[in-house]
């Protein structure tokens, strides 16, 4: 079988699959090394891009699949109508972020971070298929542990969890830490500042009153 034929076979298989196809499965079906599959797929990706096709080949959630080119979204949306996935609330997104970065994690641990009961949010995320039960805590209570699913990876358009930006990118800078700290500090230091603040406020108040 020629390389041309492999290429063609991959295109045909990907066309009829409704889930991302793992390169190892393609390798098994075509009886060629996985590395070669990956080469061919990279070539296909480049070809479609060069030819300015309306579809793209992507590597997502551990496999290859066909998707529409993002620039064609307005037309596709007009066609699918109902395809619009409903948006997640801020609360759901934050919970999802915690699960994504700290999995496997129990409901209780998520609640401890969010400071609120997360039962309802967890249920929503589970129903949408973004998170799932991945095990049980071996400790007392045997709490259910949650993790993200391949649907989550698909939804985010990433191949695996290592494609997420590192959490350290989001650790608040020293300025924020200080602001928070000062906000919660009942010591002399703040008192001094406070009294300065009052002085500062006292001065312009005349003008303010006049301008009203």
């Amino acid at each position: 079988m020629q390389s041309e034929e492999y290429r063609k076979a991959i295109e045909a298989i990907l066309l009829v699959s409704d889930v991302p196809v793992e390169p190892s499965l393609l390798a098994q079906l075509l009886e060629i090394p996985k590395a070669e599959i990956e080469n061919i797929c990279s070539e296909l990706m480049a070809e479609y891009e060069n030819d300015n096709r309306g579809f793209v080949l992507v590597n997502v959630a551990g496999g290859y699949r066909y998707q529409t080119d993002p620039s064609m979204a307005p037309y596709v949306e007009r066609f699918v109508l109902e395809g619009q996935t409903s948006r997640l609330s801020a609360a759901a997104l934050e919970t999802l972020a915690i699960v994504a970065y700290k999995q496997p994690i129990s409901r209780m641990q998520i609640s401890a971070i969010r400071g609120v009961n997360v039962d309802a949010v967890i249920r929503t995320l589970q129903q949408r298929g973004y998170i799932g039960e991945v095990g049980k805590d071996p400790g007392p209570g045997n709490a259910i542990l949650f993790g993200t699913t391949s649907t989550f990876l698909e939804r985010l358009g990433i191949n695996d969890l290592s494609d997420l930006p590192p959490l350290s990118n989001f650790v608040p800078g020293a300025d924020i830490v200080e602001a928070l700290e000062d906000g919660l500090r009942p010591d002399q230091y703040n008192d001094v500042l406070d009294s300065q603040q009052h002085n500062d406020e006292a001065k312009p108040s005349n003008d303010e009153a006049a301008s009203k």
Partner: protein, 255 residues
């Protein structure tokens, strides 16, 4: 879905507290505890009659804030029970650590949102197998008996008990203790990095607590900090302290 404190403003007490403290980032130093408490209590009043769990959490935090404030109003604190005072500081440290963690994931969730927004512009092909090949599909029901269908149904509908101990916080370390241990550890190490100090930490909150402790030492002038690039590792150099360095002044260290 149960009530979520999502609209109009905040999803939970940390969210609110974060907002109250950070709303005026420009005037960092004008944030006063008194103002925060007032706004906080106002928000609790507004939330009258909602989710009991959320309201309880609000009250807990409000109580800590009020304690901090009352502590400040006392002219002379020397007669305060040392135990009580330390406990109060621990509460504060915990609150701070949790706020930082909350903020971290808040920002991370925005990154996830951006990824998902980009991804949602591209629609996957979900058409599936062509009719001509459907007949080839192996019979997935081979070996499945009426009894196994029955068992599968019972499994699907079986009760799934869940423990709900959301108010339990797993953090064990405090900033006060960490400052104490760093004062012993740092003179020996001389120069080190935050990453090195926290390499054995399992929990991210622990890292945050180490960070706060180092910040305390920095304010006291006993260490010097350098960070070459944003988000880079923090290098900590021990400067030492003279006889008259007043450690009683270290905000989380008493005695």
């Amino acid at each position: 879905m149960s009530y979520e404190v999502d609209t109009p403003v905040f999803a939970g007490p940390f969210d609110l507290l974060l907002h109250l403290i950070l709303q005026d980032e420009v005037d960092l130093y004008q944030v006063s505890l008194g103002g925060i408490i007032e706004a906080y209590l106002a928000e609790i009043q507004r939330m009258e009659g909602v989710n009991l769990a959320v309201a309880t959490e609000f009250l807990l935090i409000a109580a800590t804030l009020i304690e901090l404030k009352s502590r400040r109003l006392l002219p002379d604190t020397s007669d305060l029970d040392l135990e009580e005072e330390l406990a109060l500081w621990e509460e504060r440290d915990l609150l701070l650590a949790r706020l930082l963690e909350c903020k971290t994931f808040k920002d991370a969730s925005q990154a996830l949102k951006a990824l998902s927004n980009d991804a949602s512009l591209s629609f996957p092909r979900l058409v599936g197998m062509e009719e001509q090949f459907l007949g080839l599909m192996p019979d997935l029901l081979e070996g499945v008996t009426p009894k196994s269908i029955n068992q599968a149904y019972l499994r699907a509908t079986a009760p799934k008990p869940q423990l709900d101990l959301f108010h339990v916080t797993p953090v064990k370390l405090t900033v006060a203790e960490t400052v104490e241990s760093l004062i012993e550890e740092l003179p020996v190490l001389g120069k080190t990095t935050l990453k090195h100090l926290t390499k054995s930490s399992v929990d991210r909150v622990e890292v945050v607590i180490y960070f706060l402790a180092v910040l305390e030492l920095y304010k006291q002038g006993v260490v010097d900090l350098t960070q070459i690039k944003t988000f880079g590792d923090l290098t900590i150099s021990w400067l030492g302290f003279d006889e008259d360095t007043d450690f009683a002044n270290i905000n989380t260290y008493e005695g």
